[in-house]
Amino acid sequence: VRDRGDLGFRLAIGAVALLVVAVVVGIGVLLVRQSWLSIQEFGVRFWLTRTWDPVAGEFGALAFVWGTLYSSILALLIATPIALGIAVFISELSPVVLRGPLTFLTELLAAIPSIVYGLWGIFVLIPLVRSLQAATPESMRALPFFSGPPFGVGMLSAGLILAVMVIPFTSSVAREVLKTVPVAQREAAYALGATRFEAIRAAMFFARTGIVGAVMLGFGRALGETMAVTMVIGNRPNITLSLFEQQHTMAAVIANEFTEATGDLYLHALIEIGLVLFVITLIVNAGSRVLIWAMGRTRTPQLAAAPAAAGAAA
């Protein structure tokens, strides 16, 4: 009787847990079904052309893909060194009393709502970026990165705001990963006369898979970020290397045009962008989790071996 009761319990809570799986599958199915018109109509062309003309019924998403990738990579370039620096500082260098408060403060960055970042971006960051752009010397303006009018609104603002938003994610995972490096490894480095830098470099090399995972996780966050980006990037579908130019992203075009989409094809085109955003973030997140998980696994045998080795030496 007891076994049957336990089986009933297992089935009952399993059924609820199944909901979580069902939602993920449901998202995928719904996105495909609701974008089918656009998938059929345009095929691959949707991703290779940049004409976005709802009136003529011509839809190409290349400009949005460009903006999403550009802003996310820009954010990654800015955020990664800072995030790793924070992770190293908090886990290896900081005085113990500072550890808790610093962790709290960096995690507060992740807790601030995206809309507040956007508000701050519009009224504080953009004027700052604008004056920075206005101060850019003419000689630099000749470069493709700095061409265009200094509006403040544009790719640079988006990259900066995304970088700030991504830092807490990357740094907290990197910190967890660094924690898994066996203490013996560091002690060995110091025993060999390594400086702090050399010991930490060795620890980071040991943790490299997990650190790449942490960076990828941040990238996944940046790809899907919507509100803060749409408020500062300008929402113009330009394909340009210029950091000053207004651009657009996949998430931003959905947020801006979804409620205005007249006609099924228009709506399906927007949902197809959502579908690809879903698939990309799925792949990036799964990849990062596999790397972090693999990192956790390599650690186990070494930790298990360490006491045994110590015992043998004694």
């Binding site: 009761g5 336990d6 319990f9 297992r10 809570i13 399993g14 609820v16 847990a17 199944l18 909901l19 979580v20 799986v21 939602v23 993920v24 998202i27 719904l30 996105l31 609701q34 800072i82 995030a83 620096g85 924070i86 500082f89 260098l93 808790g100 709290f104 403060l105 507060l108 807790a111 601030i112 709502p113 995206s114 809309i115 507040v116 970042y117 956007g118 508000l119 701050w120 519009i122 009224f123 504080v124 830092i167 400086t195 702090r196 996780l217 966050r221 899907g224 970020e225 919507t226 509100m227 408020m231 998430a251 947020a255 979804f258 959502g274 955003l277 879903f278 973030t281 799925l282 799964a286």
Partner: protein
């Protein structure tokens, strides 16, 4: 310069660079908090919470409908997500070895990484499209979906921390598994789970993107779940992108309220976690 000296200098520079990156990250945090407080504090008053928005061009008024809307939407989301999340978390920790538990964990992590705007499209598809009507319910569905994985994963992690002896004790006394879970194991982890729920609430209360085309917006006061409803976040978005200074002022005020809520939740969470850790030694 000797080789050793160079190594020491490189090392010192590295330490300095790490400390500097902490400072660099704290600058935007300090700036955001500073501006939100400075711009918001002048406009946070009783009227903000008790009055309706005035017509464009008139100054004053408040955001009563938006705050009530956010409360309703958050409560709707939580009422679905808390039970589902906790039960899924129990499943993952109780049957952690099973293949299905691995699948649920993977699904929860995946769901956690799905961009909020995509969750919005999903909620639109299941709760707006069939009824041809934006509604508070649809917004609640979107927020609930965002909240489930956070609650589930926190619950799982905290249940796994409960000492095995407690479970064994309950089972040895003849309790069924269900009884052991609900009377011994979950209560032991309850403070932590409540903390997780608090953090998840703070997160969904601040969401905007999934509400844009589910609960939409409503310039009137509404508590009807089948009608569009206003929310503080969508209202901030509307105000921030409008040309009216008085609306900007209110956007900052609402942002301050949101940030204060998030801050209090995070602080409470930190306090509870610290206490739990101390109790565990």
């Amino acid at each position: 310069m000797t080789y050793g000296m160079r190594r020491r200098i490189v090392s010192a520079m590295f330490v300095g660079a790490c400390a500097l990156s902490v400072l660099i990250a704290l600058v935007p945090l300090a700036m955001i908090l500073f501006f939100v407080v400075r711009e918001g504090i002048q406009s946070v008053n009783v009227a903000l919470f008790t009055q309706m928005p005035r017509p464009v061009g008139e100054t004053g008024g408040g955001m009563l409908n938006a705050f009530v809307g956010t409360l309703i939407l958050t409560a709707l989301g939580a009422s679905a997500a808390v039970p589902i999340g906790i039960v899924s978390g129990i499943f993952m920790s109780e049957y952690k070895g099973s293949r299905f538990a691995v699948a649920v964990r993977f699904a929860a992590d995946t769901l956690n990484g799905v961009p909020s705007i995509v969750v919005g499209i999903f909620a639109y598809g299941i709760a707006v499209l069939p009824f041809r009507q934006f509604s508070a319910l649809a917004g609640g569905v979107a927020l609930g979906i965002m909240m489930i994985p956070i609650v589930a994963r926190t619950t799982e992690e905290l249940l796994l921390l409960v000492p095995g002896a407690l479970r064994e004790g309950a089972l040895a006394l003849g309790a069924t598994r269900a009884r052991a879970v609900f009377t011994v194991i979950v209560p032991a982890a309850l403070p932590g789970i409540v903390t997780g729920i608090l953090l998840a609430l703070a997160r969904i209360a601040g969401e905007t993107a999934p509400l844009l085309f589910t609960s939409f917006n409503n310039q009137f006061f509404s508590t009807n779940l089948r009608q569009p409803i206003s929310s503080a976040t969508v209202q901030i978005y509307t105000y921030a992108t409008s040309p009216y200074v008085d609306q900007h002022r209110q956007a900052w005020a609402a942002a301050l309220v949101l940030v204060a809520f998030v801050f209090v939740c995070s602080l409470a969470a930190r306090f509870v976690t610290a206490r739990v850790q101390r109790l565990r030694g």
